[in-house]
């Protein structure tokens, strides 16, 4: 199998990679690049635990073939903190008890980041829609919705 050369930006860092094409972006992040903050829950696009941003859009990294990030800009949960400071969303998740087991949290953060970048003051319905592809078994979503809604308030 021929390896593929790609260049991509992940969390503002440029990567030049020589990769096997038959891996998903999720595998690439976790197994090759050691970015294990992105989680594996179902591998079929249902749970959203693997959500990352590609060019600002939330996608399930388990449904992206690794070479498809060539030339793209990615953000994962590891890239949310800036200069040692929590992103306001992260802080808000902490402040509003939006985290229980935390397994859905990275994906939730990425989906809500995509929302807030486009719509800084979303209505509750919009928040619920934005995270509807992120399953959480622990929280019943209530405090997550609150946390997202209060980031810019």
């Amino acid at each position: 199998m021929k390896k593929i050369k790609i260049s991509t930006t992940i969390n503002s860092k440029k990567y030049y990679l020589d990769i096997n094409p038959n891996v998903t972006l999720l595998d690439l992040l976790r197994d090759e690049l050691g970015l294990t903050g992105t989680k594996r829950g179902c591998e079929i696009g249902e749970c959203g635990a693997c959500t990352v941003l590609i060019n600002g859009e939330a996608v399930n990294s388990c449904l992206v073939l690794a070479p498809q990030i060539d030339g793209k800009e990615l953000l994962t949960v590891e890239g949310l903190m800036a200069e040692g400071k929590l992103h306001p969303l992260q802080q808000s998740f902490m402040d509003h008890d939006a985290v229980q087991c935390g397994f859905c949290t990275p994906g939730m953060l990425m989906s809500s980041k995509a929302l807030l970048d486009e719509n800084p003051n979303p209505a509750e319905e919009e928040i619920r829609t934005a995270i509807s592809g992120n399953l959480c078994r622990c929280t019943g979503y209530v405090q997550i919705v609150e946390a997202i809604g209060k980031v810019n308030k």
Partner: protein
């Protein structure tokens, strides 16, 4: 008014101690652990739900390059079975497979791909046996046995008064049958472990394990090692809900076997499909409820018979069904009770602990019965519950005198007042039938706290103040996401008068803390918390004694507060907590406290089903307001009120989180979730077909936290994790009835059940009147195709409309035949 104001940290929504790691992606869940040269472990699972194993040939698999070990049951040095109550669960099946999730062989290989390839080369010869899927059929003496000589392996009973007399006194009898489904825990993190050879022999396993000590015991027994050579370390758990117990025990043992065989680290990770296939579920119950009732609504007798599908192994069934038998009457007065519950083996997935632990099933039946009763005697759901509900001093069905503050009526009143229950209930009931109808429903319960008479109940927690005043806490109670670590930390912080940011909580390690039993039964706070309080008090005493020497003041006049040593009278800060910690070190005093808490006594007489089942109880009431699409059967929950007496909320945010999450899970139970097993073959193996509630299905939830502090809990705290989950389904079902006048007797209330009153099932019996020969001839012409989505498509060329599409070839063929038969008819 409670003592809330005096507390600095108890009762506040202090940030979780593990939150920072979880929002930054630093938290390490089991699959995130990797070490150099690790091998991949994989399991070959059964091909049949019930079959004898005639031969296992691993020779081809062993020859694959990169394969380092292939193991079968015969390679297990110690005990080949495990089980907390009944030790009969095969680590690897030896002579017989009993459900599709059974493991048959193990592979360790350099990569996952190699392991997969090797798995496909293992040849197993089976002799299929009759598959038993219906628990009532399993009880029949004629039915083939799955273990030993009886498929019924549990029978618990409760006997109080004389039911015959009770029925004779009744004006009428209510008799109903209810059924519940298999439910998948659906922790979003699938199971994973990393087993590493330990330097002095033995093994160290890091994994997504809920009950570390029982896992260690079983692993040590399988490996023939003493307990001190088996170390189980808890990775941050991505949810468990009771589910990462035996399923993890088998994974730990398997990884440890491969690890010791190869002397290399072995990593095992389940795919979601493997997880759903192998893991145990919440028990489906068939419940027969018969009540004798007077015209005024008094209940004179309850006769209850329950059959629980235990699946292939005993697991926690004996304990789960025990809670059911104790709580089967609900919190209602009744002098004459006869309850029997049976758990039976089948070839379905085995069933065990899941949040609620035997209560969601019985609550569905009890709370449905209560509404049926209300309707019969012309009362509303609140009136009937207030009339029959327990008060302080009530004697339960098991003869226990409830001497604590029985707050059933308080929670009922608070919940119903919040949403104007009675008014809405009357209004919705009399509204004319329209496309979309609203309804409101109520359910309440009582629940025994902690393990109760089902097991030894003791927990250890360790608090260690470092020389710089920072603090390390560890405990035998695990945090699965419910926040046990935070609550124990809060208790420690409260006692030591320090802020939460000083506390670091360590994940549990079986070699570092004493065996504290399982983290189940919502005992984390009341048990772990009590132990934390004792540990902190030990340290506090040392600190204050030292402080007294330091300042020359009396111990009684000193307190620890806001990270300082304070002179109570003047309020003056005498020293910082750091200085005090350093002083203890200088003086050679141990700033280390070990707290051990053993629960108060409980009792149980198995023969008569009488006893003080639990040392204390909690009370809750839930209300669901729904909208039913009467033309499609779709139900949306619009509003929800969940009111619980938690004793004392140690961490408000965490209590609310437990309530919200419990309601969401209960909503799934009531409306969406069903793990279907047909002929021993599970139909849903991932989240595309097993539907969890999404953010757009869970409504706004109003949580009401009632705090009647309990003398037996730390700072008065009791529990919330499971109570929060056990009432949503019956509240929703009662709401659907209020809207439509149609009662659902089987969970979940999915589209078909709500619209048609029953689930769609493919008929097993075919019309014999049909021209069998024609059908067979046509079936011979059928063409089948594997579609890219993995399903099968079949059609008969030339016969328009005769086609089928199903998940398996067999199913597809059956469907086709059925369509054809209808066509011919």
């Amino acid at each position: 008014m409670s003592t809330q104001n005096q507390h600095k940290i108890i009762g506040k929504s202090e940030c979780r101690v593990d939150a920072w790691g979880k929002v930054t992606g630093r938290a390490k869940f089991a699959e995130d652990y990797n070490v150099g040269h690790q091998l991949w472990g994989k399991v070959l699972r059964a091909k049949h739900p019930h079959a004898k194993i005639l031969k296992i040939d691993t020779s081809k698999a062993e020859k694959v390059a990169g394969v380092e070990a292939v193991l079968t049951a015969k390679d297990i040095p110690g005990s080949k079975v495990f089980g907390i109550v009944v030790s009969n669960q095969a680590i690897l099946a030896e002579d017989k497979v009993r459900y599709l999730g059974d493991g048959v062989a193990l592979i360790a290989a350099k990569t996952e791909e190699i392991a997969d390839e090797a798995l496909s080369l293992i040849e197993v010869e089976y002799e299929p046996l009759l598959v038993v899927t219906d628990p009532e059929e399993a009880m029949n003496p004629e039915t083939i046995k799955i273990h030993g000589d009886d498929n019924t392996f549990v029978h618990h009973k409760v006997r109080k008064g004389d039911v015959d007399k009770g029925f004779a006194e009744a004006n009428f009898i209510l008799e109903k049958k209810f059924k519940t489904q298999f439910v998948e825990h659906s922790y979003i993190e699938p199971e994973a472990v990393l087993a590493e050879p330990a330097e002095q022999g033995g093994v160290r396993v890091t994994g997504s394990v809920q009950n570390l000590f029982s896992t260690r015991r079983s692993t040590a027994a399988a490996l023939n090692l003493p307990l001190n050579k088996v170390q189980i370390i808890q990775a941050t758990l991505g949810g468990s809900f009771g589910g990462k117990d035996e399923a993890m025990t088998s994974m730990c043992i398997r990884a440890a076997l491969l690890c010791l065989k190869t002397c290399k680290p072995v990593k095992m990770v389940n795919t979601r499909e493997e997880s759903m296939l192998e893991s145990y579920k919440r028990h489906p119950y068939t419940l027969y409820y018969k009540w004798g009732v007077k015209n005024d609504g008094t209940i004179t007798a309850m006769e209850i018979r329950i059959i629980a599908d235990g699946g292939a192994y005993a697991s926690m069934s004996p304990f789960v069904t025990w809670r059911s038998v104790v709580q089967a009457t609900g919190p209602y007065y009744c002098d004459n009770v006869k309850t029997d519950i049976y758990a039976v083996y089948t070839n379905n997935n085995y069933t065990g602990a899941m949040r609620g632990f035997g209560s969601p099933q019985v609550n569905f039946a009890i709370e449905s019965m209560m509404d049926i009763l209300a309707e019969k005697v012309g009362k509303d759901p609140l009136e009937i519950r207030l009339q029959n509900g327990f008060e302080r001093g009530a004697i339960t069905a098991t003869g226990q005198n409830l001497e604590h503050n029985v707050s059933l009526k308080e929670v009922l009143q608070k919940a119903t007042a919040e949403i104007n229950f009675q008014e809405k209930w009357k209004k919705y009931r009399s509204e004319p039938n329209t496309q979309k109808k609203r309804g409101i429903g109520l359910a309440c319960s009582y629940r025994g706290v902690s393990l109760g008479a089902e097991g030894t109940d003791a927990v250890g927690t360790i608090i260690s103040v470092q020389t710089d005043g920072s603090v390390i806490v560890s405990s035998g109670i695990t945090d699965m996401g419910q926040g046990a670590q935070t609550q124990m930390s809060q208790i420690a912080a409260e006692v030591l008068g320090i802020s939460m940011d000083r506390i670091q909580f360590l994940n549990t390690n079986t070699s570092r803390v004493p065996d504290s039993g399982p983290t189940v039964a919502s005992r984390g706070t009341i048990m772990g918390g009590s132990a934390a309080k004792k540990a902190a008090e030990i340290v506090q005493a040392t600190l204050l004694t030292t402080a007294s020497e330091m300042t020359g003041l009396d111990v009684q006049s000193l307190e620890l507060k806001d990270n300082y040593l304070i002179d109570i009278e003047s309020g003056q800060r005498l020293a910082s907590f750091n200085e005090l910690a350093a002083e203890c070190f200088k003086k050679g005093r141990p700033t280390y406290g070990f707290g051990w808490h053993k629960s108060p006594k409980t009792s149980w007489d198995e023969d008569h089903g009488q006893g003080e089942a639990y040392f204390t109880w909690v009370y809750g009431a839930n209300i669901a307001e729904v909208e039913v699409d009467t033309e499609t059967g779709k139900v949306d929950v619009l509003n929800f009120v969940s009111c619980h007496d938690v004793g004392k909320a140690i961490n408000r945010g965490a209590v609310l989180g437990q309530i919200y999450g419990g309601v969401a899970m209960g909503l799934g139970y009531g409306l969406l979730e069903e793990f279907e097993i047909e002929n021993g073959i599970p139909k849903q193996l991932n989240f595309d077909e097993y539907s969890l509630p999404t953010s757009m299905d869970v409504p706004k939830i109003k949580a009401i936290v009632v705090e009647n502090e309990d003398a037996l809990g730390p700072f008065g705290a009791k529990s919330i994790g499971e109570p929060a989950n056990e009432l949503a389904a019956p509240a929703i079902i009662n709401a659907i009835y209020n809207a439509t006048g149609k009662r659902i007797y089987e969970l979940p209330a999915n589209l078909e059940r709500v619209l048609l009153g029953h689930k769609l099932v493919r008929p097993k019996e075919r019309g014999s009147v049909l021209k069998e020969k024609d059908i067979q001839a046509a079936m011979h012409r059928a063409v089948y195709e594997l579609l890219p989505d993995g399903t099968f498509y079949a059609e008969i060329p030339g016969l328009q409309g005769v086609y089928a599409n199903a998940k398996s070839l067999e199913e597809c063929r059956e469907q086709l035949q059925e369509v054809l038969e209808k066509e011919v008819a």
